[in-house]
Symmetry: C2
DNA sequence: AATTCAGTTTGCAACGTTGCAGAAACTATG
DNA sequence: CATAGTTTCTGCAACGTTGCAAACTGAATT
């Protein structure tokens, strides 16, 4: 039996000095180098030595000092999430962060979140990360077709992954919701319900997803011979404004009989406004929205939705990023999430 | 004019080596110590020297290396937010993070977020932060009266601030929503509307706020001679369940004529369920809820609410924490946010 | 007994920063 | 013009880690 004298001595609870490699070296009588090498599983070491070091390290509660490692190796063991202020998808931030958390659990990685206030300054945010060596990799969301952030990150050859695709020729890691399928599914569903005049309410037109949805929407509708329209400029709009707009729409002559909405926030305004206008969803008019939070299904249990799982997206983005940091081929780091339809009742 | 030859040479965009103190020392011909001292505003230096160093540092785009500073001084320049998975307050995470971001903007601090999956393991999370020297300070939310996390942090004499008060005798920094006022305001409002049987729907009973609300609720109602009741065990409940419960409540014999709800998530279920039951809010029954997101006012523009500003809370918590880290007296680091009533119509 | 060789272990330097004891350069004093 | 006293600057060591060249073991080979 080895002598385990000072079991968890210098933990946060204890009083003693911090346990470093030096401590272990002194206890084992080995050199710093050997201890360091041991802990990292050096194969040139005698197995018994390694075991002994590991045992002592464990019993002492050794935790490598992040600053030491970082200074020496340049590795921060941090990933950064750039969190813009977008509110379209309710509960997006929380789920994304929890997803990331799930994926870094058990690794040595920490998550730092960089809040962004206006999207206009997103380039500055990235430059900051680059200049300050904030992290080993970055996750960005709400990616645009020619997103300048992606360009910067690629130029700097800095590991990153985007939530959303781009139109750049050079490939880069991404994970994305398959918006084309979303649009196609939604159109098909509305057609099946008998809709002939479908309106698309798509939010933030700076994202690639907006682009993809609009295109796929047009294509699917064209294929089925359905008339389409779009509600433009809804992005800067206050919820109350949009609600009023929906009311007017409900009472106007050009009223669509089907609506597709890619934002939960806007869906709430729309549904409320249409309700104000006396419309009954499910008979007068059908609606399909992109669902990310648990709120809307509670609120509107009868309305069809198609789900994007943001928690899983966070997990997946992190998985991809960590692989990229570890040096994986980019070709393998591009994945899509398939939309999951949640059709409610089926009396058309 | 001083010679600014190599303007922003070795930035992320450039090719050169990283700019360190050594670089500046070489350019200025001064020693490392002098440069270091200069940059930190050493008063024993000749002003011209300081200016020269600062000028060169600026033009070279010098940014202190976090690992170097941290290794030498032990200061991480990081604050940590423990983010539990609570969903009561919609959009809580996003607003809190943005608020923190606003407060650390321009400082050298970064924010790392530690997602927590089950509250049951919250002690482990804190121990992790302590053992790993993750941050210079921690922000915790959803604080309980005898919160073990607070106890641990106080024992370790580690800087922290809690969103929510505790019942510990030793004082610690906190920022809290004034729940007592919330409850009193809500009761008074309902009384004014003519309610005689008020029900409180208060969520997570592990928090101090829950306690405060219940107590203040009882007191205020007693003072006004109003009958009270409480909907218990709603915390683990699925939204759909609660909605059904509200429906039953609406149709049952014991129906209250006023409801106070401290959670947006539950408010949605309640209002929906009461609506299912055919009740008209504003005449059959009045409701006051605690509002944190922008969603509910859009959805229910006619329902009274009392607002807690989570963004401001994030700002304030950070302000307090940074002061605590800087060594401020704890007595000055305890603040309350006054609830802001948003009464809607006033015909009654 | 000297040499080679693989298997193990170690010393040293460096990453970028700061605190401190002291050195150098001035200035004022007798 | 030495001496003490200021003012201003510098060298050194240390924080904890890792990579590398070199050194030490034995055992096997000449």
């Amino acid at each position: 039996m080895s002598s385990k004298k000072s079991l968890d001595s210098a933990r946060s609870t204890g009083t003693g000095q911090r346990v470093t490699l030096r401590t272990i070296a002194e206890v084992t009588g080995l050199s710093l180098s050997t201890v360091s090498l041991s802990l990292r599983g050096g194969t040139t070491l005698r197995p018994e030595t390694r075991d002994k070091v590991n045992e002592v390290a464990r019993s002492l509660g050794y935790i490598p000092d992040r600053a030491g490692v970082r200074l020496r190796t340049g590795k921060t063991n941090v990933i950064a999430l750039v969190l813009d202020g977008a509110e379209d998808a309710i509960d997006f931030a929380r789920q994304m962060i929890q997803g990331i958390g799930q994926s870094i659990k058990g690794t040595r990685y920490h998550l730092t979140v960089i809040p962004e206030f206006d999207r206009h300054s997103s380039a500055d945010t990235i430059r900051y990360v680059l200049d300050n060596r904030t992290a080993d990799g970055v996750i960005i969301t709400h990616t645009g077709p020619r997103d300048p952030r992606v360009q910067m990150l690629m130029d700097a050859d800095f590991p990153f992954v985007s939530h959303g695709r781009t139109e750049f020729h050079t490939p880069h890691p991404y994970h994305d919701f398959h918006s084309e399928t979303f649009a196609a599914l939604a159109v098909a569903r509305l057609a099946q319900k008998g809709c002939r005049r479908i309106m698309l309410v798509a939010g933030d037109d700076s994202t690639t997803n907006h682009h993809n949805i609009v295109t796929a929407f047009g294509k699917a509708a064209g294929r089925l011979g359905i008339a389409i329209s779009m509600l433009e400029n809804t992005q800067g709009m206050q919820p109350a404004q949009l609600r009023k707009l929906a009311l007017e729409l409900a009472q106007g002559p050009e009223r669509p009989d089907g609506i597709i909405c890619d934002s939960e926030m806007r869906t709430i305004s729309l549904v409320s406004g249409l309700g104000d206008g006396g419309l009954v969803l499910g008979s007068d008019l059908h609606l399909v929205y992109k669902q990310t939070s648990g709120i809307l299904p509670t609120l509107f249990p009868a309305i069809d939705s198609i789900r994007e799982d943001v928690f899983s997206a966070g997990q997946e983005l992190t998985r991809l990023l960590l692989q990229r940091i570890a040096g994986a081929q980019i070709g393998t780091l591009q994945t899509l999430a398939e939309p999951v339809p949640h059709w409610r009742s089926d009396e058309s």
